[in-house]
């Protein structure tokens, strides 16, 4: 039997004839809106905008059952979790940041090739030849830092409000994985600009891989990670693929497991709102329900817009992603640091245990028994991670009340304090000292921007004030029309004369114009060589004078002098 329509398809013309055109337009618009919103008709959209209560049955829950995007979201929240406390929206913000990173990241991928031959040139091209290139890069970088902060704070919040407890232990474990993935996502992206900053930060960050015990395995781990004994073309490609494919996919997958569990168990209520041992997140009394549409949706949209505004305005006016000189594997900057969220690891690698033994005057254990790098760089961080993963399963205190959790809260605060101290220990401000003259030169004119001293004081002098000549700190006579130069020379004089490791120290500063618009700035430091506090004498009985020099070049247009 031939297939036949039960009745002729109503044509637009017939419809208009039957209902009138105004009604037909409304009908079709209504149908369109209902389809797009997965179930909310046009009249109901109007009611939502007017702030009217939903009818019964409530059509506003339809998108949760019919639509793909909202089916994972709860159709109502407990009123207690819709305020800033206890969630601070940190999970939501982390997810938003992941989306923003994906979008800006794809934009940057268009202009980037993961090869040491062109990667840095690509960065320059993004900055000088791609409209919005700098804005996108700044947002990507600021967003990455914000995401690390948001995810870390999210974990701390969950710990302090005891939201990890039964039945949410597994949610916590997936969250710890998400934190690890976030850190490695950020870290893997760190290398891609292929400048001195990224190259050496990642060299430091990956240096513990080699310490994985036993040594044979350590070598293999290092080779797998870097693609060669040192970071080069193979390492850059590996980090790129980790950054743009592997880690995002992994994070995306684990995120859905995490969020499914969050919704499955309900957002945990503030601890003081339920009886000890109870979990009432899923039993929301009708009068406490806040519907997702429209209240929570508006709130979430506000947070998203606020976040975008923060990133765009912050990047446009206040934040520039750093780009230093081209990576140079042969030239290690004096003060090299890991990214800030791994400074605690760098602090651990300075080994507080051995430093404490030294301070107490006790002998260090032999390296065969206690290998500092292996223990502090691999075993201890591994144990910390394992502990974080299984921590909820080890916590037998069923109460979520703050007053019942004094030990846990103190332990948490001690952990945060230890992290802060280790982070400080990881900075070059702690227990890294080169010779006194090198420190002075680094402070005044580092060859690469220094984590402690920035671009250095010499680079704060405007070009016009770099008056050619030789200046002796023992008898300073800077030109009158160069106040900034005079100031820096004065600082140099005080810095050298106040340094106990540079007895009778002074400096000769030579400024010379080498090319139109290009000046050479040299600092030569001289001091008396001493041994056990006594000046060392040469065969003729005169004190031996030591010398240390460094020169940099300053071009009129290179942006020094506070431009």
């Amino acid at each position: 039997m031939a297939l036949r329509w039960p009745e002729p398809i109503p044509t637009l013309q017939k419809e208009v004839r039957q209902y009138g055109w105004r009604r037909v337009i409304f009908m079709h618009l209504d149908e369109l809106v209902t389809r797009v919103t997965a179930g909310i008709p046009l009249t109901e959209v109007r009611n939502i905008i007017r702030g009217e209560p939903p009818p019964r049955p409530n059509p506003r829950v339809k998108p949760h059952t019919e639509g793909f995007i909202l089916h994972i979201k709860p159709s109502f929240y407990h009123e207690a979790v819709t305020r800033l406390y206890p969630t601070f929206r940190l999970g939501l913000l982390s997810f938003y940041l992941f989306l923003i990173e994906t979008i800006t990241g794809i934009f940057l991928m268009i202009f980037y090739t993961p090869s040491p031959l062109v990667a840095y040139e690509n960065m320059l091209r993004i900055l000088n030849n791609v409209p919005f290139g700098q804005l996108m890069r700044d947002i990507h970088r600021l967003g990455a830092e914000a995401m690390v902060v948001a995810v870390m704070l999210h974990m701390l919040r969950t710990f302090f409000t005891a939201s990890y407890k039964r039945p949410r232990q597994f949610t916590w474990a997936t969250g710890v994985l998400l934190l690890v993935f976030t850190l490695f996502l950020s870290f893997s992206g760190y290398l891609l600009p292929w400048d001195q900053l990224s190259y050496w930060a990642v060299t430091i960050g990956t240096s513990m891989a080699e310490a994985t015990p036993p040594p044979a395995l350590g070598r293999i781990v290092n080779l797998i990670l870097r693609g060669a004994p040192d970071i080069g073309a193979a390492g850059l490609l590996r980090f790129y693929l980790l950054h743009v494919i592997f880690l995002p996919l992994l994070l995306f997958f684990v995120f859905f497991v995490h969020y499914y569990k969050v919704v499955r168990h309900g957002l945990s209520l503030p601890p003081e709102m339920e009886a000890v041992g109870d979990d009432t997140a899923r039993k929301v009394p009708p009068e406490k329900r806040v519907p997702y549409i429209p209240d929570i949706a508006i709130q979430e949209a506000l947070w998203g817009i606020a976040l975008i505004a923060f990133l765009v305005i912050g990047s446009a006016f206040f934040f520039d992603a750093p780009l230093e000189q081209h990576a140079d594997p042969l030239n290690t900057p004096l003060h090299t640091t890991a990214p800030w969220y791994f400074l605690w690891l760098q602090g651990l690698l300075k080994d507080p245990f051995l430093l404490a033994l030294d301070r107490l005057g006790l002998p260090r254990p032999p390296a065969t028994i206690y290998n500092s790098k292996t223990f502090m760089g691999v075993i201890l961080p591994g144990l910390i991670l394992l502990f974080l993963l299984i921590m909820p399963y080890l916590d037998f205190n069923i109460s979520r009340r703050y007053r019942d959790r004094r030990k846990a809260l103190v332990a948490g605060l001690v952990g945060v304090a230890a992290w802060t101290v280790l982070t400080y220990m990881g900075t070059p401000a702690f227990a890294v000292t080169s010779s006194a003259d090198v420190e002075v030169l680094q402070e005044f004119m580092p060859l690469n921007p220094d984590p402690l001293y920035g671009e250095g004081r010499v680079r704060t002098i405007p070009y016009e004030q770099l008056v050619p000549g030789t200046y002796d700190t023992r008898n300073l006579q800077p030109p009158a029309d160069a106040p900034k130069l005079a100031h820096v020379l004065e600082e140099l004089k005080h810095r050298i004369e106040g340094d106990p490791h540079l007895p009778q120290g002074y400096a000769l500063v030579r400024i010379r114009e080498v090319q139109p618009g290009l000046k050479r700035f040299e600092i030569a430091i001289y001091w008396t060589k001493t041994k056990n506090g006594q000046p060392v004498l040469d065969p003729e009985g005169k004190p031996v004078i030591e010398e240390s020099k460094r020169a940099i070049y300053l071009h009129r247009d290179s942006g020094h002098g506070g431009e």
Binding site: G51, L117, Y120, E121, L124, L127, N128, N129, P131, F132, G133, Q134, L135, P294, D295, I298, Q299, A301, L302, I305, A306, I308, A309, V312, I313, A316, F317, Q325, H326, D328, V514, Q515, P516, G517, L518, R520, A551, I552, Y553, L554, H555, R556, D557, S558, G559
Partner: protein, 293 residues
């Protein structure tokens, strides 16, 4: 005044407007920003190039690019003048590429573009592609630095007129002044051609130190022995004549050809040094060398 949801919507609208305005401002200033960044990056490239020049190039081409006699030709303005010559002969590539190529790949032979100047060695290859130490970005920086000299405009090099002693061994020499000879050796005074003597680029005065050529320590004594040696084929009868012959006709007799010959029968020592000096210069230099007993 408004309920919470309305306040949130107002807040979101304000923030969205602020974002859009910011993006608009970035859009309007983007062209200038990109141009500024490019200028700044070029300036930084020149700064980096200057450091590289000081480290790798200045020993042979001089700290100001003025050239070092016997080691490397002038770049400022030499390289610009040389490029003009090449262009007149039909060289089609750009100045930038000419400089870049010369730095990256070096020169197969010693520079000869000015007949009166001679150099001990050919320019080595600097790019990592050709076995040198420099990365491509470093070569780019160096090129920016060298091109920046051109901003000052090329300065014409003066060419004084004089009679060169050449390779003629028969021309009688005036009495030599060892003091002036030493000054010539140390490049404190210039030869009659206005070019500093290039001897010390290749010859050390320290005993046993062989640079490109052998040490000149004790040359007076050595010269007296040389002319009596069985394998000596030159025409010199006295030590003075031996030294004179070595300067004016370095191929007449090559000591230790394994070490000091560029090709069989051709000394590494340039045969055109005589073109730079007057008879007086030569006599003074010989007089100085004869003091090195």
């Amino acid at each position: 005044m408004f309920d919470l949801a309305t306040r949130r919507i107002i807040g979101a609208t304000v923030l969205m407007l602020a974002t859009v305005i910011t993006i608009g401002m970035v859009w309007l200033t983007e062209e200038q920003r990109m141009a500024r960044f490019e200028a700044m990056h070029k300036a930084k490239a020149i700064e980096n190039g200057a450091l590289l020049y000081e480290q790798y190039c200045a020993t042979c081409h001089g700290p100001e690019g003025e050239g070092v006699p016997g080691k490397g030709p002038s770049l400022n303005p030499g390289v610009f003048q040389h490029y003009e010559q090449l262009k007149a002969q039909g060289y089609a590539n750009s100045l930038r590429n000419f400089i870049k190529l010369t730095i990256a790949a070096g020169r197969p032979i010693r520079s000869t573009y000015r007949s009166e100047e001679v150099y001990a060695e050919a320019m080595p290859a600097w790019s990592q592609d050709f076995g040198g130490p420099m990365r491509p970005d470093e070569i780019e920086n160096l090129v920016e630095f060298i091109l920046n000299w051109q901003a000052a405009g090329p300065a014409p090099a003066p060419t004084p007129s004089f009679t060169a002693v050449g390779s003629d061994l028969t021309q009688p020499l005036p009495p030599g002044d060892p003091k002036r000879g030493e000054a010539l050796w140390n490049q404190e005074v210039k030869q009659a051609s206005g070019i500093a003597a290039s001897c010390k680029a290749c010859h050390s005065l320290k005993p046993g130190e062989a640079l490109v050529g052998p040490s000149m320590a004790g040359i007076a004594t050595l010269a007296a022995e040389r002319i009596r040696a069985p394998d000596y084929k030159g025409q010199a009868k006295t030590p003075e004549e031996y030294i004179r012959e070595s300067i004016q006709q370095p191929n007449a007799y090559i000591v230790e050809p394994d070490k000091y010959a560029a090709a069989p029968g051709v000394s590494k020592m340039p045969a055109t040094l005589g073109n730079q000096m007057s008879a007086q210069d030569l006599a003074d230099l010989i007089a100085f060398l004869m003091t090195l007993k």
